[in-house]
């Protein structure tokens, strides 16, 4: 076995061990450095892995222990997982860099170390959710990411974050309860926990017509549970307060990565356990499709009504997640490819928007109401440019990443006439709605401030500059040279 195959395992363990070691460090600064190191190491390892298995288009499974598939744990890695893992580590690294100043301002000095433990464990959990080949391991890591995600919301320790954490926690617990009973039912009718064996048994069950009802219930419960945790439309109400009130790095990581982790798991379950044909047959995709469409509209409308810039961005996340669910709901390879691409696009854009928004508000005494931010872009040009690029990408202007994603969604619907006109109409409507809140926000940022409104100029922040430049580069990369990424995703989906 080539040594490179160990890298997924190394990246997960490096993150978990850095989390464990962190309490022994001297202070928050060192914990921050260790977290950066863990994310950087993860990035390097995933990058090398991607460089190796991407072009060769190979996939493998990695035994966690001395026992082969149905007995021991396994990781399974293919091009799709490698791409996603690389993106996750990159976004985590950049979110930490971009939000570093706010972390040290918002979190009490004696608790900063603990905050970085949560970040490390979230990264480990996300990587594990991306790589795992075992449904119960997936459940355990879902719980890890739930607890850690709630912890990074409440780390700011203000009244607002505590209330929104409680709401988030309750919804997450409902979600994990549903996922757990789904997994238990699935185990009862199949007797396996590893994806390949599960798939084999599920196909047998479908072929013989045995346990059809429990199987449908299982798929429904798992989709419902993961949907609640990733803010699918009717269950999205917890997201804006949680993402809007947390500290910058938390908002970036939560909306850029954590909600995506569950969606990635859902896609992998659809392919590796239930198979997409069975899912289509059970008509679950149609439900997801409708919820996705509704989410696109409801999220945008919520964002239009919002005057608080971070909550506006959070509502926009609901809308963008609606796109992802719509892509999954199409139930075709091209649809899911578009959904994966959208995951990458949103993971690169939203953290940048969050960190730029809070950098802009830093000069205005952290007042995040939009009216208080008029002209703020002149005080921090880089943040202004970053916000503008992110906003244009979210609206879907050509050359920006969001545009490519929308084109993929549009072209993915061509085969299904009924879904096609629904999708195209909603896409058009949602683009208009997106423009309705992003354009005024950008215009406000770049309009000349009135007398007495201008804030003080902020000292330069190299960490923030690095992260914003990297995110801008990523947005343009995904918007212009998307072909290699798309090829990787397509190959990865074919190999799942």
């Amino acid at each position: 076995m080539p040594f490179v195959y160990n890298f997924p395992f190394f990246s997960i363990f490096i993150c978990m061990i850095s989390g464990i070691v962190t309490p022994l460090l001297k202070n928050g600064k060192w914990a921050y450095r260790l977290s950066l190191f863990a994310a950087g190491a993860g990035l390097a390892l995933s990058g090398v892995l991607l460089g190796r298995i991407g072009p060769a288009n190979e996939s493998f499974s990695f035994m966690m222990g001395h026992f082969p598939a149905p007995w021991g744990n396994e990781l399974s890695v293919g091009p799709l997982e490698a791409v996603l893992a690389t993106a996750i580590c990159l976004v985590m690294l950049m979110a930490l860099l971009g939000g570093s100043r706010d972390i040290f301002d918002d979190v009490l000095p004696e608790k900063q170390k603990l905050y970085f433990i949560m970040m490390d464990e979230i990264l480990a959990a996300l990587l594990a959710l991306t790589y795992t080949n075992d449904i119960f391991t997936a459940y355990v890591f879902i719980e890890i990411s739930t607890i850690a995600a709630c912890a990074i919301v409440m780390a700011k320790d203000s009244a607002a974050t505590l209330v929104s954490t409680m709401r988030y926690l309750i919804m997450s617990l409902l979600g994990s309860g549903l996922v757990l009973i789904g997994i238990v039912l699935l185990y009862c009718i199949t007797g396996h926990l590893l994806f390949p064996n599960l798939q084999q048994r599920v196909l047998e069950l479908v072929a013989t017509g045995q346990y059809t009802m429990p199987l449908t219930v299982v798929v429904g419960l798992i989709v419902l549970g993961l949907g609640i945790k990733s803010a699918m439309f009717p269950f999205h109400l917890w997201l804006p307060p949680a993402h809007g009130s947390a500290t910058t790095a938390s908002s970036s990581v939560l909306s850029g990565l954590v909600v995506k982790g569950y969606i990635i798991l859902m896609i992998r379950l659809f392919y590796k356990v239930f198979t997409i044909a069975v899912i289509r047959e059970l008509r679950i995709t149609n439900v997801i499709f409708l919820f996705g469409l509704a989410g696109m509209i409801v999220g945008s409308v919520g964002a239009i009504k919002e005057g608080h810039i971070k909550r506006m961005l959070a509502y926009s996340s609901v809308a963008q997640l609606g796109y992802v669910f719509m892509g999954i709901g199409l139930g075709t390879d091209v649809g899911i490819m578009a959904a994966c691409f959208q995951i990458l696009v949103h993971a690169c854009t939203k953290p940048m928007l969050f960190s730029c928004a809070s950098a802009l508000s830093a000069g205005r005494h952290h007042n995040k109401q939009l009216y208080a931010l008029r002209g703020a872009a002149y005080e921090n040009k880089l943040a202004g440019v970053g916000f503008t690029v992110g906003a244009l990408s979210m609206i879907g202007i050509p050359l920006f990443a969001g545009f490519a994603a929308k084109v993929f969604f549009a072209s993915a619907t061509m085969a299904q006439p009924v879904k096609m006109w629904m999708t195209l109409l909603t896409l058009a409507l949602s683009t208009v709605l997106n423009a309705l809140y992003y354009i005024p926000a950008v215009a406000a940022l770049w309009s000349r401030p009135a007398e007495g409104e201008a804030g003080e100029k902020q000292p330069s922040n190299p960490a923030f500059a690095i992260s914003t430049v990297a995110f801008i580069a990523a947005v343009f990369f995904l918007g212009i040279c998307y072909q290699p990424v798309v090829t990787l995703i397509q190959n990865g989906l074919a190999l799942l």
Binding site: I20, L114, C188, H192, V217
Partner: protein
């Protein structure tokens, strides 16, 4: 803003309002003129109430929404129970030996378990060797939980006030002088027994029911009993936050290192060189014993940590 200006503002044409909006709005007109400045509450989709209105009105608004919400929730719950019932109707029968979960996986766990893991207790062999990655995740969950509780309840300037400080100080003083004689006498007998029993359960995890988690909880409860009967001050003489951090982190490090070793050797098809020992002896079954001890230590510290943070807000 004066009353005149305000009334003038209200008379703006829609074009003017649009211009203000494009310019980023004002404090009175945040984004869309027609919309309220504050967001609608996420949970309650009720119309925004003015702050000046009495609380009573808010309650009524909430309860109306709550009414609909409750009916929906009950419906969802009942439907879900119904659907699950129907699923249960089709499930394999209780206690039957030929239900689908009894397959080659179970066969190997039972028949080869002793030979491959060295554990007489197959559950221990399964969770600490065959499927050890889950269990490592589980210990991390515990570690995360105690970290979160520390984050929330460890005393700092956000979660303390003078009143409570005084109360705590008084309790400390009382603790120092008054020892409940019945409690302390009983504790002197019970604590050693509980500790020994906890250690026994941990060390026999691979031979008999129990293991790191339950044994650790028993040891933790012995620690809690000590703190209850002799006071936190006596406890903190040998167990404070620094020791807590060091012990849990080191135990988890040992856990992670031994698991990493076994995963690495397993995946690369290397010999693991860990003797399994004689089945049934205490010193057997390779890494399982070490892992059990680590888990036991972590759990004991964690349980005591929960108690200390919940009562006093410090370790």
């Amino acid at each position: 803003m004066s009353k005149m200006a305000r009334s003038k503002k209200e008379k703006q044409t829609s074009w003017q309002r649009f211009c203000t909006w494009v310019n980023g709005g004002t404090a009175e007109q945040p984004l869309l003129p027609a919309e309220p400045a504050k967001p609608k509450k996420a949970k309650a989709a009720k119309p925004k109430k003015q702050k000046a209105q009495p609380v009573r009105k808010e309650w009524m608004g909430l309860s109306r929404f709550e009414h609909i919400y409750r009916i929906c929730a009950v419906l969802i719950g009942v439907v879900m129970v119904g659907v699950l019932m129907i699923a249960v109707l089709q499930l394999p029968l209780f206690g039957s030996p030929d239900n689908p979960s009894v397959n080659e996986v179970v066969e190997r766990y039972v028949e080869k378990g002793l030979e491959e893991t060295g554990a007489v207790n197959m559950v221990a062999g399964m969770i600490l060797d065959y499927r050890a990655f889950d269990t490592f995740g589980e210990s991390s969950v515990l570690f995360l939980a105690v970290t979160c509780v520390t984050m929330l309840l460890m005393r700092d300037r956000n979660n303390t006030n003078k009143e409570e400080d005084l109360l705590t100080a008084r309790e400390h003083v009382i603790e120092g002088y008054e020892e409940d004689i019945i409690l302390t006498k009983v504790a002197r007998i019970v604590i050693p027994c509980a500790l020994v029993y906890g250690v026994y359960v941990v060390l026999n995890g691979h031979l008999s029911p129990g293991g790191g988690f339950s044994g650790g909880t028993i040891m933790g409860s012995a620690l809690i009993l000590f703190a209850v009967s002799f006071g936190m001050i006596r406890m903190s003489q040998f167990f404070n936050y620094a020791t807590f951090r060091k012990i849990t982190s080191c135990a988890l490090m040992v856990y992670a290192a031994s698991k990493a070793y076994s995963f690495f050797t397993g995946a690369n098809h290397l010999e693991s060189h860990i003797p399994l020992g004689v089945p049934g002896a205490i010193l057997s079954s390779g890494l399982i014993l070490i892992l059990d001890i680590c888990v036991g230590i972590v759990v004991a510290c964690t349980m005591y940590g929960f108690y200390a943070l919940f009562t006093k807000g410090e370790l």
